[in-house]
Symmetry: D2
Subunit: 260 residues, 4 copies
Amino acid sequence: MFFEELGIYYEVHGEGKPLVLLNGIMMSTASWIEHIKILKNYFQVIVYDMRDQGKSSKLSIKYDISVHSEDLKKLLEHLGLKKVNLLGLSYGGQVAEIFASKYPEYVDKLILSNTTYKVDNFLASVGEAWKVAAKTYDGESFFDLALPFIYSKTFYNNNYNWLKNRRKIFKELLTKEWFDGFIRLASSNLNFDVSNEIEKIKCETLLIAADEDIITPISDMEFINKKIKKSEMVIIKNSGHAAFLEKINIYCNIVKGFLI
Amino acid sequence: MFFEELGIYYEVHGEGKPLVLLNGIMMSTASWIEHIKILKNYFQVIVYDMRDQGKSSKLSIKYDISVHSEDLKKLLEHLGLKKVNLLGLSYGGQVAEIFASKYPEYVDKLILSNTTYKVDNFLASVGEAWKVAAKTYDGESFFDLALPFIYSKTFYNNNYNWLKNRRKIFKELLTKEWFDGFIRLASSNLNFDVSNEIEKIKCETLLIAADEDIITPISDMEFINKKIKKSEMVIIKNSGHAAFLEKINIYCNIVKGFLI
Amino acid sequence: MFFEELGIYYEVHGEGKPLVLLNGIMMSTASWIEHIKILKNYFQVIVYDMRDQGKSSKLSIKYDISVHSEDLKKLLEHLGLKKVNLLGLSYGGQVAEIFASKYPEYVDKLILSNTTYKVDNFLASVGEAWKVAAKTYDGESFFDLALPFIYSKTFYNNNYNWLKNRRKIFKELLTKEWFDGFIRLASSNLNFDVSNEIEKIKCETLLIAADEDIITPISDMEFINKKIKKSEMVIIKNSGHAAFLEKINIYCNIVKGFLI
Amino acid sequence: MFFEELGIYYEVHGEGKPLVLLNGIMMSTASWIEHIKILKNYFQVIVYDMRDQGKSSKLSIKYDISVHSEDLKKLLEHLGLKKVNLLGLSYGGQVAEIFASKYPEYVDKLILSNTTYKVDNFLASVGEAWKVAAKTYDGESFFDLALPFIYSKTFYNNNYNWLKNRRKIFKELLTKEWFDGFIRLASSNLNFDVSNEIEKIKCETLLIAADEDIITPISDMEFINKKIKKSEMVIIKNSGHAAFLEKINIYCNIVKGFLI
């Protein structure tokens, strides 16, 4: 479906308590296909592409990540949802932190997964690396350059053929427009720092970390855990920044268990 | 309720898929009171005291931990349960490993929590320390000697009054009979080693570890994780060997999410 | 040799830059025998028993751990040493922190090994456990109760016979006087907290931690590392709180490398 | 100096027991400038550029990493050195492992730093990423793409200006020839696997790992540690794959302490 006002593509699956999933920077609604199959049996699952992602409109000018938090508010109003469960992953976790700090009344329970509270020099440099990779405008080169640090070493060693196939899909799907959108997204959070905001989050919060996540390591997640009053944290073993994809079943089980 | 044949005290709470909880060595059915409140809304929860625990009969002679696996089989038969979800914690996890290796047909899904596959020299020495502590036949001394290594450093620092109160309860409740039963239990698993058995476990298995667990550390759990084909592992942050009690909500949520 | 004024037994070995080793709570000059053999080839090694340890006098009344820092100052004056390298281990590390904060002019380079900046509720409870164990006035019971958490799991599993032999030595050597002294030592640091003092330490500092140290874990050492300006930290793999004894060679090598 | 037979550039600094330093893949003799200043006071330090590195000759055809092990043997013979201390870092550690397994008689003590025993799919993918980055033939792009995963997050956050300056140096120094050599080097170890060879290493061995090393993590180093009989392992805290450069002092101290 399409939210015309902002040009946002979204999907609604299943019935029950609404659960909104916020994409990581390289993701789209399509990334959640397996999770939706599981979660729609328990929740009304809402996925959408942020502007500059997937099938949503392009933003074209320089913007701040907080744009997506305002977009989310408008989307919820459009959908008539006054209170939702919110799961934000990586970049989507940053959006969720901004949103839950500013609009706490909209959030029932919050899940922050493989994300951070601040783009420090290290993460800015990772973002820069990704932008340089994107500027090749070649899906395979982008895959080769950016992906080894997103999946865990364990996953690379056990799923090499799956990854090689995914590399081909990148080649086919990533267009010039996609890369330009990605570059804008990767430029939007260089000043992201909610270290003094997240203590405003009062709702029950679950943090999902991964032991081999080198982009947003356990120490980043633990900082958030200490700041949010009603948070608890679990670590998925033998998985990386893409734990949601590396360990689909256990990931969905943890989400289910927290929300049901 | 009481299973007369073996002298086993048990309780059944709620309705739904049966879920049997196997106590750790110092525990009894009473240890699960908060978990039962939560889990009985989703499952038929069965808790029981192993012989030499709580309100069950005493064994009085030297025995091997596998006795409890056979007892479990008889209890399930008595209850007319042909297939159950099984959660074994610490010593109860060892019983669960023996049971699930020998009687796989009885186990639907398996949860192993804060447990090991082998009593090595370190664990034998911990067991010896606990026996020496038990031989004081004094609840407070036992608490002082044995408990600092069961809860996490984090929990000790955040829940000191709760712990001090628990120390008084130990004083009141732990009788000569309890200590003698405990000593027998702590003597029953010195030869426990299922490192070559657990690969027979084919059912979906969830491993729950804790990052500050120094009795059965993550490395022990990871050994099990590698051996069992369909296992996955989560680590509860900022908790110790008694994670089930230190983090009741997140613990129950993980259990729920895996079994629902 | 004997420093009569305070009744302190001490030994001086070798020549070169003076290096003073401060014992952990259960230790004495005898604990360093292997280290002295190595280190005396490079340094003038000074070991001594704090009052209430080994061959030094007993203190008999309740006192604060800072007593030992003042004693150290007097001993150095007695020996005519104006500036020394200082290595403090566990309880001795606490003494070293007090001393180096208060008398920085005496310290050339500082090594803090397997120690903490604060006795929190967890460590107070460990101390209480040790006192209860000491009150058995039996070396073997004390060994059984206290030692499993001092050596690493790895060391227990690889050196069981050595440990069993050490248990016998405890039986022979630990007298009523020793236990009473130990109990006073273990009572002296309940208020120890130098979290706001150690930033005064300006000398080059090396922190030696151990990955299986559950008494003073890496997180405690890292807190110190962050507070002291010119500090660096190494972790000895596969060792516990007694890393100095579990890994004598690598331990001495790290010390040598830092001081030479 | 120049070893004409192979076209290998080398330098000899200081006097004493010979210590040969083997470069990581992106390094050259120039990378050790600060270490040489320290270590030459204790050892005869020999550094050299492998073929396809720095000032040495180019290899031009496809080859296996073992070439460099044979080159090392010839260089030692040329220098008349029958037994040396050997420090191999990352790629140089792989060369050292091949050399010490095949020519144990040449090695006195061995130091393996931030290296692995096998190029698995993950490391092959990292190598592929580096090759794609090298094919930009642009020093700044290469820096942006490859470096964020070589230094630790901690180092990135504390030394951003130093890194930005280094980026400029990359721009100036990395030529077409350098990139082509790098690509050949990065292609030479795709089949590297000494998991069954390294148990032949009988000399005293020190393993230096880093807690934030995501290229050759602690688990890789621990595998080596378990295989080599007389090995011990230390971990440098708050450093990454480039620990040797991030923590020059502590790194040299550990080396000194082990060899003196």
